[in-house]
Amino acid sequence: MISTAGVADIGVPGVARSRPLLARVRQGLPPWLLLLPALTVLIPFFLLPLASLLRNSFNRDDPTALMVADFTWRNYVRVLTDTLYLTSFGNSLAMAAAIAATTLVLGYPFAYFLVQRAGPWGPVLRWLVYTPLIVSVIVRVFGWIVITADSGLINTTLLALRLVDEPFKILFNVGGVFIGMCHRYFPLAVLPIASAIAKIDPALLAASFGLGAGPTRTFLQVALPLSLPGVVAGGQLVFAAVLSDFVMPLLLGSTRFRMIAPAIFEEAIGNVSWASAAAMAIVMLVMTALLLLVTSWTFRRLAPWARTL
């Protein structure tokens, strides 16, 4: 009696414990097995490179070797105090803010039209927004070169109309980069706004009209606040994209208006200064992350209704 109880005491918990364990293993295995291919690429070729970039940013660049292992803040101090680097960061931030503001202001009415008013034109306009995403960026750059060059479409027209006496310098200047980037990132601003507007319940707009508000008031007090999450998302996308763009500054801009992405490339490939390039990249990464976090946080505080959307 005692012995069987003892056996039962030993045996039963053992069985009871092993069953759920096996079930847990079987339940636990498939998701990680399914994730395996993605993680085999992303851990060695994304996570570890970021970690090594962080480590390298504290190393010392050596004129005779590639990099010397060290632990110094020198690179950061230089990147954050040297005027050459600072102007690159400043130019990029200013350009990102300008492009985000312009594409949002230009894109909002367009997105509104696309969703609410386009009717039969809807599919055509939708395709128009998608084309810049489909057509190679080099194709678009080429088009803008032809349009904005000193002897290009805009300047020959202006000269022919006697509006200017000499060509207006757009290409290989700030203006060229600005136009090219507005074109490149317009879809990034429009698409999130359009999807936010599409989500607005028509009954809310009808209720606003029913309660006596005119179209302007309905737009300002109902539709616009409800679509703000799309505006914030679009702005964040555009801002981050401008910061890391180097095709536009390289092909449409000039070295007089230095931007950060080409500067990092130049530092890493041209100067072979891996440690200071790494420090620049980490500063850029932190800037991007801060920007995303701060805008999201501010927006949640200022527009609590967005949380329920």
Binding site: L35, L42, S52, I134, S136, F186, F246, T288
Partner: protein
């Protein structure tokens, strides 16, 4: 009465202004692309618009420029590999995130999506500095791996979006009716996800095909976008426009073929 009419008149004017605005933006969106296509038929080497005459010489020149031809082949090869790897890895990851509840799920989802929000320059530089660890040199393999870092999250994102309207009970029913897990995956899960997967494949192919930011760090400047960039920087002539037009045609053809394939699939499903 008259004020109502005035208001209606005003709103029609407003509508017209709105229409004009949308038309202006549309012209802005299409202008550079249209200009590039027209210029590819120019008869002169200066980038003059409108071109003084028409010819096909720039297409001939582009086709006989070895840098463009080999660049095209290299870019297609990289993009095809990237699309294949990204579709498999990204789809499986999306299924894991959507179908299962496990510890670390949110963390994994955030991690897989992270490359989409980080500046590509940072990813490219990081990869360049670590390729040595794996004894990989800049070139084809490095470019494929680098593009996959961006490609996988895109596929995961698109497949997750198409999983949002996905009915898990269909899989349950299949399993209850005696089909094996593999059979259920092949005959239920995969066909239902096909549109999302297809969209992911095309998108990632085009993304890789057009990539500059990562290729600049990871290749030896021999992909088509990099070749075109070098060409534009040193001697901008309409042969770049000719390649551009072929690329536009190429993108449209890919989209058209896939659109047809997807529609056929839809017909089959409707019949079934």
């Amino acid at each position: 009465m008259s004020s109502a009419r005035a208001r209606r008149h005003g709103s029609r004017l407003g509508g017209l202004a709105f229409g004009a605005y949308v038309a202006a933006v549309s012209v802005f969106l299409l202008a550079p692309i249209a200009v590039a296509v027209v210029l590819s038929f120019s008869s002169v080497s200066q980038l003059r618009f409108p071109p003084p005459g028409l010819s096909l010489q720039w297409y001939v020149k582009a086709a006989s420029t070895p840098e463009f031809v080999s660049g095209f082949a290299i870019s297609v090869g990289i993009a095809a590999c990237v699309a294949a790897v990204s579709v498999v890895a990204g789809t499986l990851a999306a299924i894991a995130i959507n179908h299962y509840r496990f510890r670390g799920r949110t963390a994994v989802q955030t991690f897989v999506m992270l490359p989409l929000v980080l500046p590509t320059v940072v990813i490219g530089l990081g990869l360049l500095q670590t390729l040595g660890w794996y004894r990989i040199r800049t070139g084809f393999l490095a470019a494929v791996l680098g593009h996959c870092v961006i490609g996988i999250p895109y596929v995961t994102y698109l497949v997750l979006a198409s999983l949002a309207s996905y009915d898990l009970t269909l899989e349950q029913a299949s399993l209850n009716l005696g089909a094996s897990r593999l059979e259920t995956f092949r005959r239920i899960t995969l066909p239902l996800l096909a549109p999302g997967i297809m969209a992911g494949a095309i998108f990632v192919f085009l993304l890789s095909f057009d990539n500059v930011a990562l290729s600049l760090f990871l290749t030896r400047g021999d992909t088509l976008p990099l070749r075109l960039m070098q060409h534009i920087q040193y001697y901008a002539d309409p042969s770049v426009a000719a390649v551009s037009s072929v690329l536009i045609l190429f993108s449209l053809a890919v989209l058209f073929v896939v659109g047809r394939l997807l529609r056929q699939r839809e017909d089959i499903r409707l019949v079934a």
